[in-house]
């Protein structure tokens, strides 16, 4: 049994629903804010995710970051070294999708060369009638970037856990991998003859 800790940087354009999504995830669906309250800095939310079929868990420290450009620089200083990234757009805004690569680059610049598992989230799936970004297009870009793709609706409480579970699982898989590498590395054959 192990409890891992991961710093999850949550980014994307203003008003795509980052705060709604993370609050929905952390409050188990009891807390959807209809009125838009802009995030002006970084809000920290913490939630533990158990990894299915293991006794392990990942504690996610979610850095819900302001999408408005005015705050970007100040926010970046608060990220520290990211463990995983969650990039959000809304399916009803092509502009917000086009910004995703810029957001991803921004977070990657803080990684000092460390691997960064991530997800791409198309939020507001309830607004399907106003869809501007096709699922296949988003999926393809995510695949190119090595991200998992999920569509969510914070409003309808649809699928809000999925992106975070994906991140926790990816981080956990990375831990298992490193653990085995180190185990192999430290095994000294001369001691076992």
């Amino acid at each position: 049994m192990v409890k891992l800790r991961a710093r999850c940087i949550l980014v994307g354009d203003a008003a795509v629903g980052k705060s709604a999504l993370s609050q929905m995830f952390c409050s188990d669906g009891s807390h959807f804010q209809k009125n838009y309250t802009m995030t002006a800095g970084v809000e920290l939310l913490v939630k533990s995710m158990s990894i299915p079929e293991t006794n392990d868990s990942v504690e996610l420290y979610i850095f819900d970051t302001a999408g408005r450009e005015t705050f970007a620089e100040t926010c970046e200083k608060m990220w520290g070294q990211p463990s995983v990234v969650c990039v959000v757009f809304e399916i009803s805004s092509l502009d917000s999708f086009n910004s995703c690569s810029r957001w991803l680059e921004r977070v990657r610049a803080h990684c000092n060369g460390l691997q960064l598992p991530g997800v791409l989230v198309g939020n507001k799936s309830d607004l399907a009638s106003r869809r501007e970004v096709e699922t296949a297009v988003a999926q393809e870009w995510a695949r190119e970037q090595g991200l998992q793709y999920h569509e969510t609706s914070a409003k309808e409480m649809e699928n809000c856990d999925a992106p975070f579970l994906s991140l926790a699982q990816a981080f956990h898989a990375m831990y298992q991998d490193r653990r085995q590498i180190i185990q192999r590395l430290s095994w000294d054959p001369t001691d076992h003859q």
């Binding site: 891992l4 070294q81 831990y175 490193r178 653990r179 180190i182 430290s186």
Partner: protein, 134 residues
């Protein structure tokens, strides 16, 4: 002395920021290079070693993997408090073998040593052995 297991003369790990029950912090001071403590995510990581008496320390040796920046602090108190910085060092990255580093100190006294791993070459780092020379 650098090769002696620290726990064989009563040293213990008082605290560590990470613990996987399969890789507990005691593994750093059992004298065995094959057993290790593994950090479980996010820097800084910290552990504190307590000695049974006030020890004179001239060299600290560390076998590890993927540690980048390490700071060592000492306390001469009975309790683990009032730590003062003794050394800070950037380790070189290794591939396919452990990092081996010796850090010389000008004969300091300590009841406790606190190790702060400030950064790593990966998300997870391991410490296999900590040794000291009087």
């Amino acid at each position: 002395m650098l090769n002696t297991a620290l726990n064989s003369f009563g040293a213990q790990v008082l605290f560590a920021t990470s613990s996987d029950e399969n890789y507990p912090p005691e593994r750093m001071i059992d004298g065995n290079m094959e057993t290790f403590w593994l950090s479980t995510g996010i820097f800084p990581q910290e552990f504190i070693i307590r000695f049974p008496d006030n020890m004179k320390i001239s060299v600290i040796s560390i076998h590890s993997f993927n540690i980048k920046r390490l700071r060592i602090e000492q306390s001469t108190n009975e309790e683990a408090e009032d730590f003062k910085v003794m050394a800070e060092k950037e380790f070189e990255q290794t591939e396919g073998s452990l990092q081996t580093n010796e850090i010389s100190l000008d004969c300091s006294n300590a009841t406790h040593l606190r190790f702060l791993i400030l950064s790593g070459y990966d998300h997870f780092v391991s410490v296999h052995k900590v040794g000291i020379q009087a």
